[in-house]
Amino acid sequence: MVVSMQIAPADFDPLFAALADHTRRDIVRRAISAEEGVLELANHYPMSFAAVQKHVAVLERAGLITKQRIGRRRVVRTNLEALLVARRLLDQYEELWRARIDRMNELIAESDGAIDTVETKGSKR
């Protein structure tokens, strides 16, 4: 079954929108080392320089990358902090599920006890 995510409302988180595209995710990965400018980055992709420039602009607006001047060059650098926000939220969500699974285990243990009680009563008759 194919599930299509619902189109997000107008105030859609720009962070996720920026990461929803394969090329942009790739740019974010490459820009972690902060070695390349937009021109060099554009060489990695089978698309026009203008198209890559557009992707970079989307990432910049989302706060995922910044352009940094190094000497005479301007390199694209990934803003790890923005990625860490996503990571932190995933961590919190993991905690939520761990707590739920803990409660599931308690429920299972409890119904184990209930079954035992019933069986014990039955065997005493």
């Binding site: 079954m1 995510m5 988180d13 996503a86 990571r87 939520l96 599920w97 803990d102």
Partner: protein, 167 residues
Amino acid sequence: MTVTAVRKDPHRLTLTVEAEFDASVERIWQLWADPRKLERWWGPPTYPATFTKHDLAPGGRIEYHMTGAAGDQPHGYWDVLDVEPPRRILLRGGIANADGTPNKETPISTIRVSIEEVAQGRTRMSIENVFPSTEAMEQVLAMGTEEGQSQAVSQIDAILAEEIIQR
């Protein structure tokens, strides 16, 4: 012993949690299929969940609310996209208005549940959460977790302590 794997992808905003239980597939299924069981684990003790609608069939709707100590009642809903008892559930939903209707202003996330037997009397459950945005995650986390968060942390500590003992 319980949680066997956690996979997080901050790029795709996806979280997968795998757990194994010493119980049959049917009993793990019932944790989802029986609303009275479901509401005993969905919310933390400080924000118990009440399921007012629970139609676990393709095209069905699940509606619930959580109740805080101050009387606040955040509502949520799930649309049931796919069900294959007792092994698979696919839900898509989010935050609801007080009357149970979806709050269209808020983003929608997806939960995919898979349940399978790994050995006699041992069952693996995998839960995959896909979020449309970090904002959506923040909203879900804010639901009934003001105290629940710290509680969850202490519960995790208990789990971790257990794991150390078992090693």
